[in-house]
Amino acid sequence: MSIDSMFVHKMWDDNELSKMVEGGVPFPMLSDAGGKVGKVYGVYDENAGVEARGRFIIDPDGVVQGYEVLTPPVGRNVNETFRQVQAFQLVRETKGGEATPSGWKPGKKTLKPGPDLVGNVWKEWTTDMAFD
């Protein structure tokens, strides 16, 4: 979503993005003229008249599980976004029975919060697990 019209979205997709992604962008490219939606999400810069690089993870109940907002010159890390979605999906599937510690990615150990884990995380998780 950006403040550009859907006509500009089409031109961008036709003339540039389709040269990067075969068949063009598959998902909806939304138009937020005037930044009305961006204001509600806190990403609209009134002075510049544009929206920051905001990214919101919304779960199947419509609940915001996480967000990240960057100023324009720095691009996002798509892998990190997918990792967070996978982590939130695991938590949801286990109905909160499992939690994903720092550095978790699919295949890595999860933690099972409960009385026995209090004060014992050091037995289950070491700082090197925070890194790839």
């Binding site: 979503m1 859907m6 006509f7 089409k10 961008w12 806190g42 919101f56 109940d61 915001v64 324009p72």
Partner: protein, 83 residues
């Protein structure tokens, strides 16, 4: 999901859904400030409708039509910006 829309020369726009009507212009700024703090993790994402473009079609999309799915909502400064 997103519905295809007919397009004329007017530039279509969308906006938040279910927002309270704003009473006076002088209160407007204050209202926006309050609205800005609405995004809290663990709470509902504000619903909205927006026009857009997808795979050769102009569409109209409502966020709440995607209930039951995981959604990544991304904002960016503008088309043809570089990163």
């Amino acid at each position: 999901m997103a519905e295809e829309s007919a397009v004329g020369c007017a530039r279509p726009t969308g906006g938040p859904v279910g927002e309270e009507p704003q009473e006076a212009a002088s209160e407007k700024k204050e209202t926006i400030q309050e609205v800005r703090s609405m995004i809290v993790v663990g709470q509902k994402a504000p619903d909205f409708v927006a026009p857009g473009y997808q795979q050769g079609k102009f569409i109209n999309l409502k966020l709440s039509d995607y209930l039951g799915k995981w959604v990544l909502l991304c904002f960016y400064p503008g088309d043809f910006t570089f990163v």
